[in-house]
């Protein structure tokens, strides 16, 4: 499926302010992504990983998330989702710089964001390992009878090949748990295209096999994404059980700063996809629709750049963890390692 081009503003009940917030989130994602790659090239950080191409999908999904109620079980390409549910650029930069004040104390790779207070579950780099955690969290919500809460669980297309993905979706359906499985299908799993990941390429159709609703949507359209994710989350929150969603997007960048995507896909393919760049398209749409002016857009970009610069400078100035922090939080309390 090629990603559709949005031609007219269909605001689906969103206010001007909400639409501008969507756009601001998308701008911020792109700026922070770029900053990570720049810092890597400057030799200041050993690694960065970008979400370019996922901006609309993540901004839209985050808008459907209810802060203080819902739980987010993200994966490592979810910068925009994590920003959208409340992480700040400064927190993102603490992670990129691996500083002591980072939520995980500089232990995890960048992009492995978590925050207990925001309801973002901690996860590892092991794909699909977090899907059962999301289902466990949804079980707790159901067990406690907490109507009005749900879990939003994301992953990439490649992750749906893992056994734990299947096991978890199956369990969630058996118990009709309040969880939304959102697959961000960017067509690539590092170098492996969708055609080598699955014979039947429409992931959302698997929902029928699990006995749950499924839907595919244009993940380059933040408003359509918002509407689809909100519908699914509302169903989950009101006891209607899980949903499988598939948002179509594209990975504009290489997998990470350690990857060269020109070894397995063509520049032409990327250039062609860039023509539908969701950030530029949404900007044009909002200007055409009278939600903001060109000057507003320019001002927002300047603001996002200033925010990113400020976050970068503040985070870079912070200390690394101390060497002895290596020994903390192995178990509760002090741990005397086996020497």
């Amino acid at each position: 499926m090629s990603v559709k081009t949005t031609t007219a503003l269909d605001r689906r009940g969103l206010s001007d302010d909400q639409l501008r917030r969507l756009f601001a989130n998308m701008l911020l994602q792109r700026q922070l992504d770029n900053r990570g790659f720049q810092l890597n090239r400057q030799g200041k950080v050993p690694f960065a990983l970008g979400s370019e191409g996922h901006e609309a999908l993540q901004a839209g999904a985050a808008l459907a998330f209810e802060r203080g109620k819902d739980v987010l079980a993200p994966y490592y390409r979810d910068l925009g989702l994590c920003l959208g549910v409340g992480l700040t650029p400064y927190e993102i930069m603490l992670s990129i710089f691996a500083r002591a004040g980072d939520h995980n104390g500089g232990r995890q790779f960048p992009n492995h964001y978590s925050s207990k207070s925001l309801g973002i579950l901690s996860f590892s780099s092991i794909l699909a390992a977090h899907i059962p955690h999301a289902v466990g969290a949804a079980y707790v919500i159901a067990y406690r009878g907490e109507v009005g809460r749900a879990v939003l669980c994301t992953c990439g297309d490649g992750t749906t090949s893992e056994g734990e993905w299947h096991e978890s979706v199956n369990f969630a359906s058996i118990h009709r748990l309040p969880v939304v499985f959102l697959v961000e299908n960017n067509l690539w799993a590092i170098s492996t295209p969708l055609s080598k990941q699955m014979a039947q390429p429409e992931i959302w159709k698997r929902a029928a096999g699990y006995g749950m609703p499924g839907k595919r949507f244009n993940g380059f359209d933040p408003i359509e994404t918002y509407a689809c994710v909100k519908e699914a989350l509302d169903r989950a929150r009101s006891g209607g059980g899980p949903t499988l969603l598939e948002g179509m997007c594209y990975r504009f960048l290489a997998h990470s700063t350690d990857d060269n995507d020109m070894t397995y896909r063509t520049k032409e393919e990327v250039v062609e996809r860039r023509k539908n760049d969701p950030v530029q398209r949404f900007e044009a749409l909002l200007i055409e629709g009278g939600v903001m002016t060109r000057d507003d857009a320019t001002a927002m970009k300047q603001e996002v750049l200033a925010q990113t610069n400020d976050a970068t400078d503040r985070a870079e100035a912070m200390p690394f963890p101390q060497a002895h922090d290596l020994y903390a939080n192995v178990y509760e309390g002090a741990w005397e390692p086996w020497q």
Binding site: H103, R107, Q108, K116, S122, A129, E167, N329
Partner: protein
Amino acid sequence: MAVTTSDMTASAQTMNNVEAVRATLYDALRSDDRVIILGEDVGARGNVFLITKDFIDEFGERRIIDTPIAEASIVGIAVGMAMEGLRPIAEIQFADFIYPAFNQIVGEAAKTRYRSNGEYTCPLVIRTPYGGGVRGALSHSVSVEALFYHVPGLKIVAPAFPADVKGLLNASIDDPDPVLFLEHKKTYRLIKGEVPAGHYTIPIGKANLLKEGTQLSVVSYGLYVHWALEAANALDAEGISVEVIDLRSIRPMDRGTILQSVEKTRKLLIVHEDNKFGGVGAEISAMVAEEALFHLDAPIRRLCAPDVPAMGYAETLEHEYMSSPAKIAAAMRELATF
């Protein structure tokens, strides 16, 4: 085994290990609604050893969850439950089936606290029957402790006596970190003992000096603790004085008790059912060599399973793989007279 009392351990009782596990789980379910049990056949069937028989009738299917046959997600879903505040007890029907859950135990549960720098924790118990001597063949007999004891962040318990089963299972359920709780299935109905009344815990990481002796120290756990004790008692008649330590916890390991004993007896024999190469005995040997080498009067000995993939189904193959009180006594004699 109908559940008839409000507290199955209201007064001290003689129980076997199955009954001790069952009574402890029952009390935990009664006293804390954060405790839930999930696993294969734990509900209507009441677990293949009947440990959770009738629990589903009293506690309901939301707390006693018959899961699909999917070990990775049995543990993985329990990790998610633990991160969000429950006290799940995940059951792996046989330890041999734990391999699909390896990542969830090693990569996820054991690292949840560490990787989030303490923001998230994983108070999870994974119970599983292990061990041979029951004609369980290749895939219902394994010992898995060596595959997991390499992993910081995880605790591993392997009690041998009913009273320890209760105290250590209570401690495991109370523990704020993930615990792999190993139950030797041969001891399930074979071993009986007095179990104290009421709620009590035995600290994880504390060994138990079962029998004092002067000529050598024997460290073991699980079924072989009973055989080591039997052998040591028999050797008393021969004038050989053997000290027997039941490790009880494999991680954290009670270094102090082992070292104190070895420094006294000056000889060490480690006995375990798991195979020798890279087994728990290897770590104990290395630790004693590092910490107490000059107290030793003889080389450290390990009596373990041979370095083959598994015990066979045929009685001869199982017999060859397993140790016995006689084999342990022979190893004790040999070391005592070194």
